[in-house]
């Protein structure tokens, strides 16, 4: 129904039962882009939930191999968790700096985020390499297959995030705080925070629940 038809009916509706909504037109591009990326992130979380479900089903199928409590090192997981949490915070600081167009704090926040992400990846890589060298690779048991695919998939996302982070720093360096660069930065911040949310599930379900049993 067109606006004029609705306006014409206003006299027949003295008690304003049918409210006339002033349509503001399409949403700004920033909202549309971020909303689309939000839907992608949710589908990514659905994909992770499949890995979580597979892990939950296979966690006891150790095929006489090691159980979770025998191979997990709580101290490493704590360091990884703190790294990712702090990197989420510094990523937030960098996105605030990008919004107010402050280059120094943007570069500083992104650089710290990058270093923390790399520390996380280094610890995770060392853990995986150590397990494989002891003969507990993903082919050892169904439990280890599920463990490596779940945690490894998260690690791959963090690696992709670090590459994206470096791209964003380079784009701000080369192009400045243009509207399209700021939109990408917003999507990156959403991505990085979502990775931290998934890691909360990983360390709780895999390392803490599996480590105690």
């Amino acid at each position: 129904m067109s606006m004029t038809a609705t306006a014409g009916r206003a006299h027949a509706d003295p008690h304003h039962i049918g409210l006339v909504i002033e349509h503001p037109g399409p949403a700004p591009k920033r909202t549309v882009t971020a909303y689309g990326f939000w839907v992608f992130l949710l589908s990514d979380i659905v994909m992770f939930s499949c890995f979580f479900a597979a892990y939950a089903v296979l966690v006891n199928q150790t095929a006489d191999g090691p159980k979770g409590s025998e191979i997990f090192e709580q101290r490493n997981v704590a360091i990884e968790t703190v790294c990712l949490l702090l990197s989420s915070f510094t990523c937030g600081m960098a996105s605030i700096a990008a919004d107010v167009r402050n280059r120094f704090w943007f570069y500083l926040g992104m650089a710290v985020t990058c270093v923390l992400g790399l520390i996380f990846l280094a610890i995770e890589f060392r853990e995986f390499a150590d397990l494989v060298s002891r003969g507990y690779g993903p082919s050892r048991s169904a439990f280890l297959s599920a463990f490596f695919s779940l945690v490894g998939c998260h690690g791959l996302h963090v690696s992709a995030g670090v590459l994206w982070l470096l791209t964003m720093m380079a784009q701000v360096f080369a192009k400045g705080f243009r509207a399209d660069v700021l939109r990408r930065m917003m999507c990156f911040a959403l991505f990085w925070h979502a990775l931290d949310i998934i890691w909360v599930g990983v360390f709780s379900v895999v390392y803490l629940l599996g480590g105690g049993a």
Binding site: V20, P24, A27, T31, T33, I45, S88, V200, L208, G212
Partner: protein, 129 residues
Amino acid sequence: MSDQTHMPAGHDLAPGDEEQHSVGERVLGYVVGLGLALILTATSFFIAGTDLVWQPSIPVALIVLAIAQMGVHLVFFLHITTGPDNTNNVLALAFGLLVVFLVVGGTVWIMSHLNQNMPPMDDFIRMHS
């Protein structure tokens, strides 16, 4: 036109965006989120390795703490609120969570019953060898 009730429908807010705040307020929001998340994380790690609480309650406590921390991240880092400008974001999130619970809950439910209804695998192999 004067007797019409206009409802200026404001624009939606992008996920991750906040309403207009000063830089100080925004930084404070992240600091509060970081503090809460650190407390919840520390509690999780403490509870997982302690003998001070009733042991069977530990898995439930860990899951509750994890969900609480995810909520903290959503509110303070992703700025998902219950405001009218966030309706689309919340609806998408609700649908995502529905699918997550269907996938995880359904899988665990079905597979546990599958194990109950099957003869133990060791007997099965012995019967056929």
